[in-house]
Amino acid sequence: MIGSIFGVLFDGFAYGMLLFLLSVGLSVTLGMMNFVNLAHCSFAMLGGYVTVTLMSRYGWPFLATLPAAFVAAAAVSVVLERVLYRRLYRASDLDQCLLTIGIVFVSIAIAAYVYGTVQQPVQPPAYLQGSLEVLGVNFAVYRLFLVGTALAVTVILVGALEYTRFGAQVRAAVDNQRMARGLGINVEGAFAVTFALGSGLAGLGGALASPMIGLDPSFAFAYLIYVLIVVSVGGLASIGGSFAAAALLGISDMAGKYYVPELGAFLIYLVMVGLLMWRPSGLFGKR
């Protein structure tokens, strides 16, 4: 019994880390830049498809495809940012929502056209498969890998944003554009790089998530809701908040599915609505 509780806790936490990897990019674009980017999971889907293509068609090893997924998603996002997003930085939430829903529709159609609507198989390499048994509890290796990656991403990201010159410039540009410009900071450039970073992280998250949750064109919508929940519950612009919210969400979802399967996703939505009503700006939100 204790073993099964630990098992559910670990699986839930690993699932939460998967959600965190998917959503941490959004807490950069939506959280820091205040852009309601519903197309976030489209970038994640792009990362997933890059991994699939490189692995199955060109025989790249799984780990080598991960940076490629990051770069591809970041590159595509820079083009979209320069052409479309940039014009709507000051527009209303609704306009941003609609533009990005449009991008989601287009991306789903393109993915269906190129890859068809079937699930794409993604096999992690042999050394990431199987499981370890410690004290009677099974730990799947790939899940341990996800947890480790999530922790590494958190440390790198928080370090980069809080303790580097570039991070300070980005935060300045986001907080007060005019002042930042007056101090000689290249605000346009900072925004473009931040956006690329957020979307690149989405691509990485998509690539890492696809072996566990599968990949098909509906990915862009199916996980959007989870990602939005993580970011809005965790609090905008708070990477630690996203981390906590993702862990909470993953564990409660897994526990719900395990102990009260008839409730389905009901529990998650209830938790989200309740938390948002209690703290509209999220658990760790400042604004």
Binding site: L98, I101, S232, L236, Y269, L276
Partner: protein, 329 residues
């Protein structure tokens, strides 16, 4: 807004005047009976979608409440009417009234939550409430039929005389009349001082209370009304098609109606109706294609509208006409 008016009264009266284009539009709505008899079922679907879009327009276009979960009320109306029909009360008009009341009741309860939030929290909460209801309906499969949908709905003839036929003559007549009546209600609301204060809330929600119009009370009222109208639209769908599927509550439906309204032009009475016509006709024509590809064009259209036509197709047309008039005069 150009031109000064002696009093707000005069301004509202001028706005509420029936224009010839409007009368022509409603006469044109009768054309399917004569020319497109094979498409009467589609026409009735369009009328229902237009009514749903109109209800969203009241809260989004006029009061500025962004909702990603408006299908909740559509679904409540559909299930209320469907359940009545299934359990032995197939009288359409009273079914419509009961469905509207059920949707209004839930809308009223939800409005207390909705009125307190704005921006992202509001979007997420409306989305969450929509998903909650969808999940609840899915779980309560004993009542709703779950993923298989509600089957075995028996509708009685309208007024005991007009049966719901296979060609959709009754369905379209019924849907169109209900749409027109609801449209009259919405039109009256919008051109009243209440409607004007809604637009005030949309423009500046902090300033309205300062001049003595409480935002929250107004938002609660219009949200309840919009929920009731959405419920009527859902009930119409259930009654004219004699089925209710779980999809009536889905996120896709909420997103679709938003797209329809934005395409047509939010904050304009005819925006939702025009959007529904364009969207449904295009979907019918392209339905031979894979639905996934159909969304490619809808997505592209949506991007184009947001980028180039901030007030939708109707807004773009109004701008074109006014600049043309300006040039000729």
């Amino acid at each position: 807004m150009s031109g000064a008016y002696a009093s707000p009264q005069l301004y509202l009266e001028e706005q509420a005047r029936w224009r010839s284009a409007e009368i022509a539009f409603w006469i044109a709505a009768l054309l399917p009976f004569v020319f497109f008899k094979a498409y009467l079922s589609l026409a009735s679907q369009i009328a229902i979608t237009a009514l749903f879009a109109l209800s969203l327009d009241l809260i989004l276009g006029y009061a500025g409440i962004v909702s990603l979960g408006h299908a909740a009320f559509f679904g409540i109306g559909a299930y209320a009417a469907g359940l009545l029909g299934k359990h032995g009360w197939g009288e359409p008009l009273s079914g419509l009234v009961i469905a509207a009341a059920a949707a209004a009741l839930v809308g009223f309860a939800a409005s207390f939550i909705v009125a307190r939030f704005r921006h992202l929290a509001l979007i997420m909460i409306t989305l969450g409430m929509g998903l909650l209801l969808h999940e609840a309906a899915n779980s309560a499969s004993g009542l709703t039929g779950g993923a298989d949908g509600l089957q075995g709905i028996k509708m009685w003839p309208l007024f005991g005389v007009f049966k719901f036929d296979l060609y959709g003559v009754t369905a379209y007549t019924y849907s169109l009349v209900v749409l027109f009546l609801m449209f009259l209600v919405a039109r009256r609301l919008i051109h009243s001082p209440f409607g004007l204060s809604l637009r005030g809330i949309r423009e500046n929600p902090l300033r309205m209370p300062a001049i003595g119009a409480s935002s929250e009370a107004h938002i609660r009222k219009i949200y309840t009304i919009a929920a009731a109208i959405a419920g009527v639209a859902g009930a119409l769908l259930a009654q004219t098609t004699s089925t209710v599927s779980l999809e009536v509550l889905g996120f896709q439906r909420s997103a679709d109606v938003l797209v329809i309204l934005i395409l047509g032009g939010a904050g304009r009475l005819y925006g939702g109706i025009l959007g529904a016509i364009i969207y449904m006709v295009a979907r019918d024509q392209f339905s031979g294609l894979n639905p996934q590809y159909w969304y490619f064009w809808i997505g592209l259209l949506l991007i184009a509208v947001v980028m180039f036509l901030p007030n939708g197709i109707l807004g773009g047309m109004a701008k074109l006409i006014s600049s043309w008039r300006h040039r000729t005069s």
